[in-house]
Symmetry: C2
Subunit: 243 residues, 2 copies
């Protein structure tokens, strides 16, 4: 029997399995019972990033808490390709946007990087991880990308894993789309340049690295947030899971 | 002698040619002289969507107006491919975003469409055309896409020009990327479905139309604004001007 899909999707940091009880936090209870007006017997879809989507029933509803009980799995766990998104943080609203879009577009890991010409060095990790969770709840995914803290580009490149390639989006080094088509899927990272571009030192380093493939995002200047979505679309449609 | 490029870019609805004088509106004068603190002798880059980018000198600066004088052309006129973007208007901030991103990504025409399940029917044409101009000023382009008023999808499709194909982004009809690769460049329009998807009637109509090519934007549900950027990236990198 097909389980009716719930309209409200909730990320829960707990094991999901048949008959499992799930305690709700005060904030979750407020959202479900106060804002969304659910009550005992209503259905909620829960996912934890690992066990797929579960159809859950509200079995206890209070102002400060509540309990969901897992009925059965409504959708399997689907993970995106092993793709990292590296970008220089920009103004708050646009960084929020990049995290939201990276989640929708199927990045597995969201990595702010500090390059020589990075405009903004502030990055609120807890806030952005919450933002990724919210985007996953909205977009119907069962996976939540890991958001990591700001790292220096130089350090990242120095310790770069042997088995992961970088798709570099920078006008000055740009190759054609065919450059990417000729590559193999697998472990990749997208690197978006900061609004001021990379420094000459960074460009010299990037040019020497054997795991870097550079591609063009066209003749117009893109904002960092536009570039992130465009680069993810290019990669997903060429090497990723857009079948 | 190379002309020094001005940092401030201004769209002006006037003929641009050597020695041409350009009268500034009160709002433009306020922006240049009040906000940006320019004065007589400073350089401004001007474009009108037709004559490329011109290096202009401030030759008169007042509180309520001013004059620029064209020195010489600093960049040629570059038009994007003949690509239309059709989308169902969504909430204000996200519609703003779609117009901004469509400009950066090189759409020639921005067309809000009203489909059966369109969430929002409000579309402020003047505001969105101004938004496209602002995006063009920011992104360094010399072209400003034309924003047209809200039209019914049904009417648009009934009067569709013979020589223009549609790239349809809808999960239920989706083809693979190879479907698009097999097509020829030229006159195209991208059609993004509304957040509730197309209605069964619309899908039946779209299926019958010989000029429609449908493509997948991947296995995740994308918001309308994400879908717009992703679709533009897919088209530009396959049939457009991303060389």
């Amino acid at each position: 029997m097909a389980v009716k899909r719930a309209k409200i999707r909730l990320f829960l940091d707990a094991k999901l399995a048949a008959k499992q009880s799930l305690d709700l936090s005060r904030a979750q209870a407020h959202y479900l019972f106060g804002v969304m007006r659910l009550g005992v017997g209503d259905l909620v879809a829960a996912f934890n990033g690992q066990d797929g989507e579960w159809s859950c029933e509200v079995t206890s509803a209070g102002k400060r808490g509540g309990v969901l009980t897992c009925l059965e799995q409504a959708a399997p766990q689907i993970n995106p390709p092993d793709l990292w998104l590296m970008f220089a943080p920009v103004k708050k609203a646009r960084t929020d946007f990049i995290v939201e879009k990276a989640t929708e577009m199927g990045a597995a890991r969201i990595m702010p990087v500090q390059s020589d010409f990075t405009n903004s060095e502030r990055f609120r990790l807890d806030r952005q991880q919450a933002h990724a969770i919210e985007a996953a709840e909205q977009c119907g995914g069962t996976f939540v990308p890991v958001v990591v803290d700001l790292q220096k580009l130089e350090t990242l490149l120095r310790n770069w894993p042997d088995d992961r390639r970088i798709m570099l989006c920078d006008e000055t080094l740009a190759g054609t789309r065919a450059t990417l088509t000729a590559q193999k899927p697998g472990k990749w990272a997208i690197l978006i340049g900061p609004e001021g571009g990379f420094s000459p030192d960074e460009l010299a380093t990037l040019r020497r690295l054997p795991f870097v493939t550079s591609v063009s995002l066209g003749p117009r200047i893109l904002r960092a947030d536009t570039a992130a979505v465009a680069a993810l679309a290019l990669w997903q449609s060429t090497l990723g899971d857009w079948k």
